[in-house]
């Protein structure tokens, strides 16, 4: 009896020592990822809370990446195949939790991090990643602010925030006849949206438009009537909203209620989201939006093929049409796979160096990073809601349809 207890005690002691060993030797564990046939990646995601919708789309993107890469046997690291092993945690849409989870991954020896959704979460994570010597592929944090702090270990596959409204302005300048003269920006007051607005104003002024005073409202506002009433008297030719879906829908609904009728509405990320056209019905017609990716984006890669192939895979696996949130998540994961292959190692520093030198075409367009870690080499697409569907109208090379102008019945 005594010997049995003794044996049990030694088993418990041995296993706790082994577990403690795992924690403290995280570095070695990840170094050995290739030989163990597994490349561990940590992903904190907004699966509940305010960003649950986008969080789920991001997760789908990561999941598809893991499936497709592993279907080819995994990532080729120095001649040995390592299967992607993405570990998920829910950050409840809160930046401080997202940052804590990155720390937790570090404690477990997970050095490669896929970002959460949105600039606020990503910004919080980037600071921790830098401190811990981890490396992060950023799938959805577009605010230029994240990249102005001298961080060297965060790489965003998506176009920076300054391009969101800017690309709509460029499309209008190039395609609209008669060319409008005045633009009013309505913006949510979060950091990302403000950066979007600044970028848009700069481009608009550069292209010779008269820019009216910008109007701000709280992020997530469902009532933007004050902002609309204030611009109504100035009769802008174009109203561009730097908004998320909720504020975007509110602008269109309340503009109709208040009879604010510019020649066109543009609304950054709201119109590409299917809920936009579903919520607004006919009112959504001809609203312009900007998108990180559409199913006609040019480029291809060995894992996902073209944007059309990617769209088909998302549809088959998840039963819905792809959204750009899916694609940017997959692209971030893809950048890790390609960087690890290029580095021939799963070591965080080597993967970081490989990422900074990465220059590749993909289903998501070109992936290449500038010195700050932003992908300024990929153009954004401008879409317009036509017959209830978001169709690409700019850039001209990948346009599916002509831009309808004016976009409203004035």
């Amino acid at each position: 009896m005594r010997s049995r207890r003794l044996a049990l005690a030694s088993v418990i002691t041995a296993s706790s020592l082994a577990m403690a060993g795992c924690g403290s030797k995280g570095e070695e564990q990840i170094e050995g990822a290739a030989s163990s046939g597994r490349l561990a990646i940590g992903a904190s995601l907004s699966l509940t809370g305010q960003l649950a919708r986008e969080g789920l789309l991001t997760k789908e993107g990561y999941q598809l990446c893991q499936d497709k890469v592993n279907a080819k046997g995994g990532v080729d690291i120095g001649g040995k195949k390592a299967r992607l092993d993405i570990q998920y945690q829910d950050d409840t849409s809160k930046p401080d939790v997202a940052a804590q989870l990155v720390d937790q991954f570090n404690d477990q020896g997970v050095k490669l991090i896929l970002s959460s959704y949105g600039s606020a979460n990503t910004e919080a994570q980037a600071a921790v990643v830098e401190r811990n010597g981890q490396v992060m592929a950023d799938s959805a944090g577009a605010d230029n602010k994240i990249f102005s702090k001298g961080y060297e270990r965060t790489f965003a596959v998506l176009s920076p925030a300054t391009e969101y409204a800017s690309s709509i302005v460029k499309a209008i300048a190039e395609l609209a006849t008669p060319k409008p003269r005045t633009i009013a920006f309505l913006s949510a007051d979060d950091g990302f949206s403000k950066t979007v607005t600044q970028g848009g104003i700069k481009t608009a002024e550069g292209l010779g438009f008269t820019v009216l005073d910008s109007q701000f409202f709280p992020s997530g506002a469902t009532d933007v009537s004050s902002a609309l009433t204030r611009v109504k008297g100035k009769n802008p030719d174009v109203i561009i909203g730097s908004v998320h879906l909720v504020e975007g829908v509110a602008i269109i609904k309340q503009a109709r209620e208040l009879e604010v009728t510019p020649a066109a509405f543009g609304e950054t990320v709201a119109p590409p989201t299917p809920d936009f056209a579903k919520s607004l019905g006919a009112q959504a017609e001809n609203v312009l939006g900007s998108s990180q990716w559409t199913h006609v984006t040019a480029g291809q890669d060995k894992y996902f093929g073209t944007a059309k192939d990617y769209a088909r895979d998302i549809q088959a696996k998840f039963g819905h049409a792809p959204e750009y949130h899916n694609a940017e998540a997959t692209a971030a994961c893809l950048s890790f796979a390609l960087a690890a292959e290029k580095a021939g190692s799963s070591d965080a520093d080597k993967v970081r160096d490989a990422l900074s030198g990465l220059d590749t075409e993909s289903f998501f367009g070109r992936i290449k990073f500038d010195a700050t870690g932003q992908n300024i080499f990929k153009p954004m697409s401008v879409i317009q809601i036509q017959n209830g569907k978001a169709v690409t109208v700019w850039p001209k090379e990948s346009a599916e349809a002509k831009m309808i102008w004016p976009g409203t019945k004035q």
């Binding site: 509940t48 809370g49 305010q50 649950a52 919708r53 789920l56 849409s93 007051d189 109007q215 701000f216 409202f217 709280p218 997530g220 469902t222 009532d223 009537s225 004050s226 902002a227 009433t229 204030r230 109504k232 008297g233 879906l245 909720v246 829908v249 509110a250 609904k253 309340q254 109709r256 209620e257 208040l258 009879e259 809920d275 579903k278 919520s279 607004l280 019905g281 009112q283």
Partner: protein, 294 residues
């Protein structure tokens, strides 16, 4: 001037909508002394029911809201009897904790059942507006406003003219004495909670008609209800309407003359000022702030 008038009209209508959302919250707090943190979740559930009725059966939200009300009345009644009644005598923290937990469960449940997608009940008329000179009066919001006013008057009639209503008020004032008079407090509480959730359901259907909703919006409706209820004051059925209209106007005027991001801060500033000058709220009764339950 026309911008000021427009802001005033819009603020009043928005205030009516806020009052509709908050009236049930205020009722439960006033009568049962329970701050129901799950109130916003009931509003969203009501919106989903109204949306479902419209999607599946093409039912207009102004009819669908009665289905919402009926379903949520039953749900509220049962929730009170089986759950909230367990802690109704407990310290306020316990009721807060329970209703907060209930909110989490409901919001996550709706996330799973309906996904986190944004929804809206689309009607041909809600987005239209009437022209009064240079001022536009949106039809959907006008109807929601009329509903808020009608419900307030109905509630007043209920508590002053019917035996059921009077027993609700009596239980709210002094549960011990009400029991001695033969009032079944448990039933009255459940009835009150049911009425409150039914009203939340109707408000939800209106929210879905004039705006968008998703499970994540529940928290903001609870917060707004809290502000409106405190501002208006407890123990008076006109409280929510008064509070809602003031907040609506303050936000509309503030948005017109101050930077737009200040509107929420402004709403709370008004709340603080009113509480300093009139601690019982605009039309509330002092008794409700200091009562003891036996």
């Amino acid at each position: 001037m026309s911008a000021f008038l427009q802001a005033t009209v819009y603020g009043l209508l928005q205030g009516g909508l806020l009052a509709l959302v908050a009236v049930g919250f205020s009722l439960v707090w006033g009568v049962m002394n329970v701050v129901n943190l799950a109130h916003g979740a009931f509003v969203i559930l009501g919106a989903y029911i109204g949306w479902g009725m419209h999607q599946e059966f093409g039912l207009d939200p102004f009819l669908g809201m009665f289905v919402s009300a009926a379903v949520l009345f039953a749900l509220g009644y049962v929730t009170q009897r089986l759950l909230i009644n367990l802690v109704v005598n407990g310290p306020i923290f316990i009721t807060l904790l329970l209703t907060f937990g209930l909110e989490l469960v409901m919001v996550q449940g709706m996330n799973l059942a309906f996904s986190a997608d944004f929804r809206s009940i689309e009607t041909s008329y809600a987005g239209e507006s009437l022209a009064l000179g240079s001022v536009r009066v949106p039809v959907g919001r006008l109807l929601a406003f009329a509903l808020a006013v009608a419900i307030t008057f109905l509630l007043v009639a209920l508590v002053t003219r019917t035996r059921t209503g009077m027993s609700i008020m009596a239980t709210g004032m002094d549960r011990g004495a009400a029991r001695l008079m033969g009032i079944r407090a448990r039933h009255v509480y459940a009835l009150t909670f049911g009425i409150a959730t039914a009203l939340a359901g109707m408000a939800g259907a209106m929210i879905g008609t004039v705006g968008t909703f998703s499970p994540a919006a529940a928290g903001s409706f609870t917060l707004m209800s809290f502000v409106v209820a405190v501002l208006g004051g407890l123990g008076n059925m006109y409280g929510a309407l008064a509070g809602g209209l003031v907040i609506g106007l303050v936000q509309a005027w503030g948005g017109q003359y101050l930077p737009g991001t200040w509107v929420n801060a402004l709403a709370f500033l008004v709340l603080i000022i009113v509480l300093v000058v009139r601690p019982t709220g605009l039309v509330g009764k002092a008794f409700y702030a200091a009562r003891l339950e036996v």
